[in-house]
């Protein structure tokens, strides 16, 4: 009988719709409630990272708010626009925090956060995300080793272009035996980020 089939079908469909409505409203409510805490904890996590690489005496502005968008760029390796944060002391530029991607790591992209002082020397570098082999290539992460601190105070003037390589390739940067590809990629990415900074210094602080 077509009528009962129709009735049965619509009843079933309505039940599904009712469930969808109830749970969608639940989600909307939870989303609203957790929105502020999520934004706050994300900002705090970012700020905690910034504090590791930008010393307190290098800024007195709100780093998170003083941001500029950077279009996809060969030297930083980003394929989508990224955000750079600027540190200032009494409105005078003191440092910039750039994100850079190294595509030539051992597995997947290595995402770096690089703080460069106004004079072109590095304040600090941290690895944001990576998929390098645990126990071998992961010493680039500050949680696993101090290697990443080699870059502190490095600059284009301090180290010539030819020396921006790991020792194995004739450069000056140390690495750990067993994993050369990873540090090679990081050194290259930091070097390119410094070149990007040198070429776009004024535009970055506008």
């Amino acid at each position: 009988m077509p009528e009962t089939i129709l009735k049965h079908t619509s009843k079933t469909a309505l039940t599904l719709i009712a469930f969808a409505l109830v749970f969608t409203s639940l989600l909307a409510y939870v989303f609203q409630v957790t929105k502020a805490p999520i934004e706050k904890s994300e900002a705090e996590a970012r700020m905690a990272l910034f504090r590791q690489i930008v010393p307190e005496d290098l800024h007195n502005n709100d780093l998170l708010k003083d941001a500029i968008s950077i279009a996809p760029n060969e030297l930083l390796g980003n394929k989508l626009p990224i955000v750079a944060n600027r540190a200032r002391i009494d409105n005078k530029p003191s440092a910039v925090i750039l994100e850079a991607l190294a595509h030539d790591g051992y597995s997947g992209d290595i995402k770096l956060l690089i703080a460069i002082k106004y004079d072109g020397s590095i304040a600090g570098v941290r690895v944001l995300t990576h998929k390098e082999t645990p126990g071998l290539g992961d010493y680039i992460d500050i949680a696993k080793g101090k290697w990443i601190k080699l870059f502190d105070n490095e600059s284009l003037s301090e180290t010539s272009d030819a020396e921006w390589k790991v020792k194995k390739d004739g450069g000056k940067f140390d690495y750990m035996a067993g994993a050369t590809i990873t540090p090679r990629a990081v050194v290259k990415a930091v070097h390119k980020a410094l070149q990007y900074y040198a070429a776009n210094k004024e535009a970055l602080f506008k």
Binding site: T15, L16, F19, V30, S41, A45
Partner: protein
């Protein structure tokens, strides 16, 4: 036997999802690199299971059987998202570690399996208890496996406790083997398979021992095969 007692024993031992039913192995193998990671995902799964069973059981009579699976998945997905947002908001570092595995609880078959086979046929109180106990059974396996892999792989216990509860808890990290250089195999995926294999073997051994002891305790001989 008391129904609630039976549910508890089933979830924690007899039908343990981690070492007996062997359901939901994706998180078991992926996140159990430390006690904290394993236990955190286990607790999140247990909460989802209790909540999913608790929400399906009261409405089970209104859900036509043709659409029960979409409805169950809808309920589970919504609850997982709620947990995901909550962890993201209030335990950001933990979210960073477990991030991609929490949404995966939706497709963890153990959750749907308990909703379908238990909550859809029982009253809410036993259903909630079943979800919770199955979840805690899984949590125990995840924490134990995490512990084994952490001690062998890194020589510590409870590392990362500060991620879940704040920096004050860093003092509770135990260094079991000082100056340990780590045994990579335990941390990498093969370590999960080997560890889980040992756990299953240990459980089967314990069960068999019990089965062998019981008849002799009553004075009868082992039954012939």
């Amino acid at each position: 036997m008391n129904q609630y007692k039976e549910i508890t024993i089933n979830g924690l031992w007899k039908q343990n999802p981690g070492v007996v039913q062997l359901l939901g192995l994706c998180p078991t193998l992926a996140v159990t690199t430390s006690v904290v990671n394993g236990a955190s995902l286990g607790v999140a799964t247990a909460l989802v299971m209790a909540a999913a069973n608790g929400s399906v059981s009261p409405v089970r009579k209104y859900v036509p059987s043709e659409i029960r699976v979409p409805v169950f998945i809808l309920v589970i997905a919504a609850l997982v998202t709620v947990i995901d947002l909550t962890i993201h908001g209030f335990a950001e570092p933990l979210h960073k570690v477990l991030g991609i595995f929490i949404p995966l609880i939706v497709v963890n078959c153990i959750v749907l399996a308990r909703v379908e086979s238990f909550a859809a046929k029982n009253e809410p109180p036993p259903a909630i208890l079943d979800g919770l106990m199955m979840g805690l059974g899984l949590t125990a396996v995840l924490a134990l496996l995490g512990g084994i892999r952490e001690v062998i792989g890194k020589g510590t216990l409870f590392s990362g406790l500060d991620l879940a509860f704040g920096p004050d808890f860093k003092q509770f990290v135990i260094t079991v083997v000082p100056d340990y250089h780590g045994f990579l195999l335990a941390i990498l995926p093969p370590g999960a398979f080997l560890g889980l294999g040992c756990l299953i073997a240990a459980r089967n051994w314990a069960e068999q021992r019990k089965a062998n002891i019981t008849p002799s305790a009553t004075g009868s001989l082992k039954p012939a095969h």
